[in-house]
């Protein structure tokens, strides 16, 4: 069954990969193409971590600057172009999150707590990530999802899940080890 390009963002992979290669040659139109294809979802990814739209746009801005400057370091043979792109925007969002926490530690006292199941339920049934995460014990699974999707630190996970820090660290490591085995 062919998915609609708009409903299956992973179908954008070849276009994004080619555009990053063109960015490496200094072609500004290629960066604009990546922006048109991916910026809205990049803001969406950053909002889940930062929970503020202005900061999420800041992270997206920084990510595009980084893509422009380091497109040459993108190696198409090594991995997915979109994974590379989203790793950059997550990275920027996490850096901004850490800085914000430093200046405003109360920021996290927020009633609208992210639900780990929400992102999990949105993964396609056929997704290996979903199938492998579902095999994990719930605590380990929730800790990993909250860390990746919402940028939770070990300390925040301990608070949110009501467990000692040492337990959280061990849950994460054991959960990741099982995930590694399952995903190969």
């Amino acid at each position: 069954m062919a998915a609609e390009p708009s409903s299956d963002p992973s179908a954008l992979e070849p276009q994004v990969s080619a555009a990053i290669v063109r960015c490496a040659a200094g072609e500004k139109a290629a960066l604009r193409l990546i922006y048109d294809l991916e910026a809205a979802r990049m803001v969406g990814v950053a909002i889940r971590i930062l929970r503020r739209r202005d900061l999420a746009e800041e992270a997206t801005h920084d990510a595009f600057m980084r893509v422009w400057r380091s497109a040459r370091s993108y190696d198409p043979s090594r991995g997915s172009a979109r994974a590379w792109l989203y790793a950059i925007v997550r990275n920027r969002a996490l850096t901004i999150l850490r800085d914000e926490r430093r200046f405003d530690p109360e920021q996290q006292a927020d009633t609208d707590l992210p639900q780990p199941d929400q992102a999990l339920q949105r993964l396609p049934d056929s997704s290996a990530l979903r199938q492998c995460l579902q095999q994990l014990e719930a605590g380990r699974r929730n800790a990993i999802v909250l860390a990746y999707v919402h940028g939770f630190s070990h300390g925040e996970l301990a608070g949110r899940l009501g467990m000692p820090l040492g337990t959280i660290k061990s849950w994460i490591r054991r959960g990741l080890a099982s995930l590694q085995e399952c995903m190969g």
Binding site: P9, A18, A19, V21, R22, C23, A24, A25, G26, E27, K28, L31, Y35, A40, V43, G44, V45, I47, R48, R53, A56, E57, T60, H61, F64, M65, W68, R69, R72, R78, G79, S80, R82, A83, W84, Y86, A87, R90, N91, L94, A119, R122, L123, P124, A128, L129, I144, V145, A147, Y148, V149, G151, S153, H154, I172, R173, L176, L179, Q180, M183
Partner: protein, 241 residues
Amino acid sequence: MTPDRDDRLLAAEFVLGLLDAETRAAAERRLASDAAFARDVAAWQKHFAAFDDTADAVVPADDLWRRIEAGMAAAAPAALVTPPGLLRRLWNSLGALRIAALSGTAAAVAFALVAVVSLRHADEVAARKPVYVAILVDDATRQAGAIVNAFADGRVEMIPLVDMTVPAGRTLQVWTLWNREVGPRSVGLLDRARATPLDLQRLPTTAADQLFEITLEPAGGSPTGRPTGPILYKGTTARTL
């Protein structure tokens, strides 16, 4: 736990963003020097990337692109503009290889290309090499007639390897086909065989398995906008290593 396994978990925690500042900085430095670790990180990024596609699309404010564009102008350009055709210059300077190619087959040309690339400073060539190469072959004789090089910046060039005979009142026309529904598009007209840039600016970026062919057409080019004359040489693009 084995060191390999420890490293994979470290890579995973790095991707999740769970490392403390010092360990994170060490992992970032390691990415540049340790290929196995960089592979582990890329593998985890790919595993978790499925989550990124579950985020809602949030259309950014109008000024976001303007700010990015302004930043781009201020930032150093991503790369200096690629100097034209290093490979072509190498090609011309290596007469022996050229003769081999002139009398040879597609395989000989492919071999010669590999030889040229491996002969020279690998890094310098890597920065300027074509992303895709097509070797255009005569279907009947299997003789290679031309090479098409497509570069990362969108430039595409054709380099003939044989002196194609063009009768009076006729012209060589170069076509490319990337989508059967769209059909072949003309990308160049030549009165004789010579190295020439091809005009693909308004076409989608050249990709793997894209067909290039040279046909013999009436002077001024095919009257129908489609190839009408005999196909002299054709070949499809392959990604360079």
